[in-house]
Symmetry: C2
Subunit: 313 residues, 2 copies
């Protein structure tokens, strides 16, 4: 593949997940894992993360086999980050049962020399000071995208605002957008976030899709309406992976390209939620993705023609 590479930094975790449709324990996950498995469909992915020496070797082997370069994954003495969560029938609301940072607690991302010239960079939702450390190690990126979470908005706001000054694309969910902007109206919140540095803000709304705000453009995508949703964990990271992956592959950062990239992100997220953990992303093929992209387009298109003018003028 000749698409330019994407550098991702984020968490790698072992997750315990319970939904009304089943449960899994010690499932491979984390924001960097979901992002990578979605983005690698479109472009080579370089991962920077930390794992404990308890992580079964198969997980990183599997990533390698899927085209993810894991030379930036540090294996530290100790246990891998663990997260446990539970969902009810309202899969848009989740309850965190436990978070054990383990080796993640003292993580300082080190970008291997071979990764430093990565034109596309995705800063997963780690502490903003660590996101800034990564940016300092990267040379002349074309596009820097950043995700964050309520925890950092509340506990590391000034560091977050500082790193946002160097970010092109901010991807975050609706409650985070409202909290960071201090504004309940989502459109006004998005406009407020644009003033913090990024030239584009993408607000994820879970099953209700995504809203993009640019300096002079707005775009809405629904989520793919699915008959079977199994586990929403990682959908937002897979969305970001599909989005940034497609931007890298197209080499186009225009408004039209951003819309298409959001639609591809939406498609990758839809595969994620159809199975537990990363299972839904593992076997998805390019032809399936293109088919679902066309279905999403059919789902949202309507004509400009106004037949009223014709028949009753």
């Amino acid at each position: 593949m000749s698409a330019p590479p994407i550098l991702v930094v984020g968490s790698v975790a072992l997750d315990d997940i319970r939904t009304p449709f089943g449960e899994v324990s010690e499932a491979f996950g984390g924001s960097a894992a979901y992002f990578s498995l979605a983005a690698r469909v479109f472009a080579p992915v370089r991962m920077v993360a930390v794992v404990g020496n308890d992580l079964p070797a198969e997980h990183l082997d599997d990533l390698q086999a899927q085209g993810v370069d894991t030379r930036g994954v540090e294996v530290a003495d100790g246990l891998t980050f663990r997260w446990g969560g539970e969902y009810g029938y309202d899969l848009n609301a989740r309850k965190t049962l436990f978070t054990h940072l383990n080796v993640f607690e003292s993580f300082h991302p080190s970008v291997p020399a071979a990764f430093r010239r990565s034109p596309y960079v995705f800063l997963g939702n780690i502490h903003p000071a660590l996101q800034a450390e990564v940016l300092e190690q990267v040379e002349d990126p074309v596009l820097v995208a950043l995700d964050t979470m309520n925890l950092w908005i509340e506990t590391a706001r000034s560091e977050l605002l500082q790193v946002l000054g160097s970010v092109d694309l901010l991807i975050l969910n609706d409650s985070e957008a409202r909290e960071l902007a201090g504004e309940p109206n989502l459109v006004r919140a998005g406009r407020g976030l644009l003033e913090l540095g990024p030239s584009c803000v993408v607000i994820k709304k879970g099953e209700h899709g995504a809203l993009m705000l640019g300096e002079s453009s707005m775009f809405c995508s629904p989520a793919v309406p699915l008959e079977q949703v199994c586990d929403p964990t990682g959908a937002g990271d897979a969305f970001a992976g599909g989005l940034v992956g497609h931007l890298a592959a197209s080499g186009d950062l225009s408004d039209d390209a951003m819309r298409r990239a959001i639609a591809y992100g939406t498609v990758l997220a839809s595969y994620t939620v159809e199975d537990f953990g990363v299972a839904g992303l593992r076997d998805v093929e390019r032809a399936d993705i293109e088919k679902r992209y066309r279905e999403l387009r059919l789902l949202t298109q309507f004509g400009v023609e106004d037949p009223v003018q014709k028949t009753h003028a």
Copy 2:
């Protein structure tokens, strides 16, 4: 206007509404009022309803002035239906403070002879037995649309199922769709509702837009993203009014026409929520509606081209 007329039956009410942005008392409202003020933009509207002799004359005069034929509005001895409701910052969730049915309690809709040949019929969310009474009085309609509510799903299910057998288009909100179908997944709920009679189901999701399911088609529209939402009361009825109004005006019931009609319904709903009560609908002009329709289209469109194939094949 040469568009064929629409018959609407539903409630006319005086509403007390409180939102974080203000409050109004004894505001003119009710499902038939909102529906009519939206539909009359596209087609002549004939209203069947009941009011008390306390209703200030200006309200019906105003409807007449806007092109709504109110000859089917019965003025009964007693008080007009009154409803009180309150919204918090989550405008998608509302709390009913009181419901005084008053003259509505003993209402039996009588369709004037001049209204009986109405090609388009909208049965607002009154008791399904009354909806059936209206249908019995109408001759050969082209399209019958029906809205309902949780109260009737819970207390008059068999009557509702019976009238649904004579309905072409079912318009209801997401919680109603889930409850009527007995299915939490919205796509499966929609498919279940298609089996009850209607050839098309439109599920309203408030600020999250609408989902249409036909026998072989699905369409998603977002709501118009607004910087100022004032009062969501009546938005669902205005949505139905814009939708059915545009279908009547276009004389086209194809899948493409249904998509356009849903987009027009979405636009009318957006004007409704920008002000209290029916005020947002009163002054809206056709040119404004067409402009916002084009904006909604721009908001949702994305290309089929996949530049990845071109640049990296």
